[in-house]
């Protein structure tokens, strides 16, 4: 009786896990299948052919390779610049007592809540003023500032976790704050830096509104915009095969990151929210 109860429980649990997996992965499976011809004719759920025609067409008919490079460039630059600024700022916020610290942290938190559209017109002006309109610089600038608040927020949480003794040992050894950051904290905190960098990378890689507003020419677009712009012969019917092929191409690196750094990403999300 008891074992029966246990077994049905286990079966139900396994079913729940399976349903969960199906729910999260099925759309992505359909995307892959479609990129190989599913959804045409009799093939509803399964691929119709096993060649790369849709993938080739994406790269042939659009500057998609260029778009990927743009996205990579913008994302890496965003990560590098925002980490550099965030590391020093979060050191100050986490480890030094000064007046106005709480106010500053609140401001940072506030900025991370800004709706993008709220700064769109002002940002548009600024970017035209700086001569960055229709250039990747406009995206690097806006993404850096939008990823800065949560990078600072997360790194501040991590920096608070470093034992006070460790910093004081370095102070007694004669290290300046800059030396403490570069020679002690950054090596100790590299997992946190990876986490923060990943979140900033994903944010920049996926961003859409600034990208579609500040970039005009096909060659300078990032991948989310490029995918949104793929169109077919008629206005009403999209070439779903190529669209899905492009989606798969864009998503694969992210899935790889997620699979490799799953634990770190979760840590970062948690540090940003739960411990805040």
């Amino acid at each position: 009786m008891n074992t029966f109860k246990l077994r049905t429980g286990q079966v139900l649990f396994a079913l729940a896990v399976l349903a969960l997996l199906l729910y999260t992965i099925f759309p992505f499976y359909i995307a892959i299948a479609t990129s190989f011809g599913a959804g045409t004719g009799d093939h509803v759920y399964t691929p119709a052919y096993f060649d790369l025609r849709n993938y080739l067409s994406v790269f042939k008919e659009q500057p998609f390779f260029h778009n990927i490079l743009n996205s990579a460039l913008v994302s890496f630059a965003t990560v590098a610049i925002s980490l550099l600024i965030a590391v020093t700022a979060s050191y100050a916020l986490a480890r030094v007592h000064f007046r106005g610290r709480t106010m500053l942290l609140l401001t940072v938190l506030g900025v991370s809540m800004f709706p993008q559209v709220a700064v769109l017109s002002g940002m548009f002006e600024l970017i035209r003023m700086l001569g960055l309109y229709n250039s990747l610089g406009s995206l690097i600038l806006s993404y850096t500032v939008f990823s800065l608040p949560f990078s600072v927020w997360i790194l501040t949480t991590f920096m608070r976790g470093i034992p006070k003794d460790l910093e004081e040992a370095a102070i007694v050894d004669g290290a300046t704050p800059w030396q403490i950051i570069t020679r002690i904290f950054m090596p100790v905190l590299w997992p946190a830096l990876v986490t923060t960098g990943l979140l900033a990378f994903i944010g920049a890689w996926n961003e859409f509104m600034f990208a579609i507003t500040f970039i005009l020419s096909n060659e300078n677009r990032t991948v989310p915009v490029a995918i949104s712009m793929i169109s077919g012969d008629s206005q009403y019917e999209l070439p779903w095969g190529p669209v899905m092929a492009a989606s798969v191409v864009v998503t694969v690196p992210l899935i790889a990151l997620v699979l490799i750094f799953q634990r770190k990403i979760v840590e970062g999300l948690t540090a940003g929210a739960v411990k805040g």
Binding site: A16, V17, L20, T24, I25, P27, I30, A31, T34, Y45, I85, T88, A92, L93, R95, V96, F98, R101, L104, L105, L106, V108, G110, V111, M113, F114, P115, Q116, V117, A118, V119, L120, S121, G122, F124, E125, L126, L141, S142, T144, V145, L148, N206, F208, P224, I227, W240, V243, M244, S247, V250, I255, L257, V258, Q262, I265, V266, T270, A273, V274
Partner: protein
């Protein structure tokens, strides 16, 4: 017996307790000098904060102020450098027996309603789902790490991609959703999910839930993993029903974390743009505040009017953030590091 030294030397008795009260006055002494360390650290702290503050001020603060200001002008995209101040006209103006402006525009109110509808529905559903998923992932089973990574995928992929994927799956003729539902006899004929006014908002909520439940689940899971094990063991020893344990022990304990996650998601949902823009572009049935504002700004080139709409959205988000900060009295002063 070792008593040779008793009383031999006068001990160096320092201040004895009875003689001390007079020293209490020293608190009021002249301002303490900061040591070289403190001075150097505070100076460096501000130096280290400068790049961030400059960045935030020029690329977030300034544009925000400009947006708010432009909301009081008649600027357009073509004449962005020459405009005039028109007061509240973008918001509300009475002219020739008619009210004009944002607050008199039915479409604006529709966008507000849609935004709130999506936010409330989506966040409630994903909270419940997220807790369920977190409970599943909290149990130990083979392949848990892989499942956890799998549920991160919807969160990690670009919203544009998930919108396209679902747009295709929800396609009225070739989409698998219609096929699936008809095979399962849930519906009798294909539905144009993203076009039909009756289904389109629900569709957006469904896709949003799919994409954001992982975030909720992972935050909840993290909270679950921080719970003390002993109170569960105590509950088990006492033979309390698991459901009762969940509602009486687990839920109250993870509530603070859950509240944070809900607020983060609400702020996010209020800004919803990508999904709606891609899935149902230009449809008035699904217009949300971000889409409305951007449409006015870029598509209709009415910088002033669009800025006014943006300002209202900002105020809503800002109000919610402030309410949250004051309600929870966020502990920002990093306890424990001094």
């Amino acid at each position: 017996m070792d008593t040779s030294s008793i009383g031999a030397q006068g001990t160096k008795t320092a201040t004895s307790p009875s003689a001390l009260p007079r020293l209490g006055a020293s608190t009021g002494r002249a301002k303490a000098e900061l040591s070289g360390l403190s001075r150097q650290r505070i100076r460096t702290a501000w130096l280290f904060l400068t790049p961030m503050m400059i960045g935030l001020a020029f690329v977030a603060g300034w544009p925000l102020l400009r947006t708010i200001y432009l909301g009081f002008t008649d600027a357009t995209l073509s004449s962005i450098d020459s405009y005039s101040f028109i007061g509240l006209e973008n918001y509300l103006v009475y002219d020739n027996g008619h009210w004009y402006g944002l607050l008199a525009d039915g479409l604006w109110w529709k966008s507000v309603w849609n935004t709130l509808y999506i936010t409330v529905l989506s966040v409630s559903i994903e909270t419940v789902l997220g807790v369920l998923v977190a409970l599943i992932l909290h149990a130990k089973f083979p392949g848990r790490g892989l499942v956890r990574a799998a549920i991160l995928i919807p969160w990690a992929i670009p919203t544009v991609v998930s919108a396209k994927m679902w747009g295709w799956m929800l396609h009225d003729q070739f989409g698998v959703i219609n096929d699936l539902f008809m095979t399962l006899h849930i519906i009798s004929e294909p539905i144009a999910w993203t076009v039909n006014p009756d289904t389109v908002l629900g569709t957006i909520v469904a896709v949003d839930v799919w994409k954001t439940t992982p975030f909720m689940a992972l935050l909840t899971l993290a909270a679950l993993q921080m719970l003390p094990k002993d109170c569960y063991e105590a509950a088990r020893v006492d033979g309390i029903h698991p459901l009762k344990v969940f509602f009486k022990v687990t839920l109250p304990l993870i509530k603070p974390a859950l509240v944070v996650a809900v607020v983060f998601r609400m702020l996010d949902a209020l800004r919803i743009f990508d999904l709606v823009y891609i899935l149902t572009s230009n449809s008035e049935d699904t217009i949300v505040m971000s889409v409305y504002a951007r449409q006015a700004l870029i598509d209709f080139q009415q910088i002033g009017y669009g800025s006014a709409a943006s300002t209202l959205l900002f105020l809503m988000v800002f109000g919610l953030t402030l309410a949250y900060i004051f309600a929870t009295r966020l502990k920002l002063d990093g306890s424990g590091d001094h």
